[in-house]
């Protein structure tokens, strides 16, 4: 029984790790908390369902569709919410971002209504049995695909020019700009990359749960915050660790403590970590200049 839950945790953790990575990249490169990250993801899902008819399609098509849709929404948000306000005081950007999250959520609500929608994925994997544990096809997909994407991301960050530019900017933004890295291009690319990652994660979540609803972005966003904070803001391995931890927290709480309170448990974990060690497990404490 425990082994089963652990296996399920890994599957969920994989999806959250991808989201935490996307979020973490945006934070690392742009020093921005993307308050509507989850909503962008759900908006992408709704768009995909709207365009492709909501019936389970060929897997590659669905994957491409959701990634493209999420990336598009993400870039639009970047242009309107962050780029347009880039010279404003921090508090203003923050407050405006909270507003944008509400706008996206409720736009979805207005256009598509409050009822849950089906998001069915034709998973190309059969269920797997080993050691008394049964992993459904979608869970297998989640573990496999998240690992594949993470490896791909690692390659991108290490081997491509864009990747190196991103890493340089994370390490020292000012130096990177001085060295000639095009700031605007980096911003859009990072946002696109971060959103794309959430698109893949959306596919995984969709395949595991089969439904989407308008305010889900709110909930997902909170889980992603928890993941990056616990794992450590500004740290890429921290994001992966945090995502996996959330996967475990959600699954194990639901299985062994209480289904109704699993979210409260994860939220409490977030609050506790913030209050005790805001830099998380692998993050660097932020120095303040006096």
């Amino acid at each position: 029984m425990i082994a089963q839950q652990l296996a399920n945790s890994l599957a969920l953790g994989g999806a959250y790790a991808l989201m935490a990575l996307g979020f973490g990249l945006i934070f690392g490169v742009l020093d921005l908390i993307h308050w509507s990250y989850g909503d962008v993801m759900i908006a992408g899902a709704y768009l995909t369902v709207a365009c492709l008819g909501g019936v389970s399609h060929s897997f590659p098509l669905l994957l491409a569709g959701v990634v493209v849709a999420t990336t598009l929404v993400g870039v639009v948000v970047e242009r309107l919410n962050f780029h347009a306000l880039r010279d404003k005081p921090h508090m203003v950007i923050l407050i405006a971002s909270l507003g944008v999250a509400m706008v996206i959520q409720n736009l979805i609500l207005i256009i598509w209504g409050p009822a849950r929608r089906r998001f069915l994925v034709d998973v190309p994997f059969p269920p797997v049995h080993f050691l008394g544990v049964t992993l459904s096809g979608s869970r297998v997909l989640s573990i496999v695909l998240s690992v594949v994407v993470m490896v791909g991301l690692d390659l991108l960050l290490r081997r491509t020019r864009l990747g190196m530019a991103i890493r340089a900017t994370i390490l020292d933004r000012d130096a990177a700009i001085l060295m000639g890295i095009n700031r605007r291009f980096i911003m859009v690319s990072t946002f696109a990359l971060g959103s794309a990652l959430s698109g893949v994660a959306m596919l995984l979540l969709g395949s595991m749960y089969g439904v989407i609803f308008p305010l889900e972005g709110n909930f997902i966003g909170l889980m992603v915050f928890a993941a990056v904070i616990i794992g450590g803001l500004g740290s890429i391995p921290g994001a992966v660790l945090g995502g996996v931890i959330i996967g475990f927290s959600q699954t194990l709480s639901a299985a062994f403590v209480s289904v109704t309170y699993k979210d409260a448990i994860t939220m409490t974990l977030l609050a506790v970590v913030l209050c005790i060690k805001p830099s998380g497990i692998l993050g660097r404490p932020q120095e303040e200049n006096i």
Partner: protein
């Protein structure tokens, strides 16, 4: 003994407004207007208390709806299960929310800016989840059957009487806020908001100041919650979600942070206008979000804040990009 401001021009303006509000029921208007008025007064109290913390002290917490709710549920539960009265509910709610906000304040006291928002967001979520999931609180269906407020034998059951009671509540809360901000402690809060390090360097105990502000703001919000519960005879988790916390922030931002009048302006605008636009129920949250997304960048200090910008002695919150806080 001298009262803070009746003799000043500002004080006279306040008294005039109060007189107008009190005289309003004389005019022939649908009772709906007075029900809305009562709600405006209650939210005015909540945002006023939020102003103390966020506007004057610069501590942007999004757990405020949660404390409003804890006050409301405390009064509601006591009324429904223990059949206690209005005043007892007020005392209990004020004490409980004061204690809880002290705890939250203590836990989050070293957090700034976006980290504080995330922590208080999580905390509000937890509070709301308990409201939603717990059978004790009535779960998702809420808690009906809260009694009408009664004081000294008189029961406030008519629209007009509730209107006046909540107006009195607003006067009480806003009066307390005004007293606190126009005091040395109020100055300490403002200094803290403007620059925490510099405030420490001139001898202000910033940790203690933040804690007191947190506790006071929470207690006042809880107090407003009591009025809310008895006004509606019903309490539900939906009124106290994190989105509602964001709306409180919107009301504060639009009305004007750091001024006593700001909260009331913001509440009137963001409560009355959507109500006036009939059929906007579906669009309500959308509009609130739009208000935050569009108005905040355009008018960072809010309506009342900007008007007072040039006055001697009045303060406008500093939102300078380079100081500490980040999005």
């Amino acid at each position: 003994m001298r009262l803070p401001f009746p003799s000043s021009r500002q004080g006279r303006a306040w008294l005039l407004l109060l007189a107008l509000a009190a005289a309003l029921p004389v005019l022939p208007m649908p009772s709906y207007v007075f029900r809305l008025g009562a709600l405006i007064f209650i939210y005015g109290s909540v945002v006023s208390s939020f102003n103390l913390l966020a506007g004057y002290c610069g501590v942007i917490s999004v757990a405020h709806a949660g404390f409003f709710g804890i006050g409301a549920y405390t009064a509601g539960l006591m009324s429904v299960h223990l059949h206690t009265g209005f005043l007892t509910g007020m005392v209990a709610a004020a004490l409980l929310t004061a204690l809880l906000s002290l705890v939250v304040g203590f836990a989050t006291v070293r957090l700034r800016g976006r980290y504080l928002i995330m922590a208080t967001l999580g905390i509000n979520e937890v509070i709301n989840l308990v409201m939603f999931n717990s059978e004790f609180t009535g779960g998702p269906n809420g808690l009906p059957g809260v009694s009408f407020p009664e004081l000294f034998g008189f029961t406030f059951s008519t629209t007009a009487s509730l209107y006046y009671l909540n107006l009195a509540g607003l006067v009480l809360v806003t009066g307390i806020v005004a007293l606190v901000v126009n005091s040395p402690f109020g100055r300490a809060m403002v200094a803290l908001r403007e620059d925490e390090r510099a405030a420490e360097a001139i001898g202000i105990d910033t940790l203690r100041t933040k804690l007191v502000a947190f506790t006071l703001a929470g207690a006042l919000a809880g107090l407003a919650g009591v009025f809310y519960a008895h006004n509606n005879q019903f309490v539900s988790y939906q009124t106290f979600t994190t989105d509602e916390s964001f709306i409180l922030l919107a009301m504060l931002v639009i009305g004007g942070l750091g001024t006593v009048a700001g909260p009331i302006i913001g509440v009137v605008l963001l409560l009355a206008l959507p109500e006036a636009l009939r059929g906007a129920a579906l669009y309500r949250y959308f509009l609130y979000g739009l208000a935050l997304a569009v108005v905040a960048p355009a008018w960072p200090a809010g309506l009342a804040g900007i008007r007072f910008r040039r006055r001697k002695g009045k303060s406008k919150p500093d939102l300078d990009r380079r100081e500490g806080e980040a999005a």
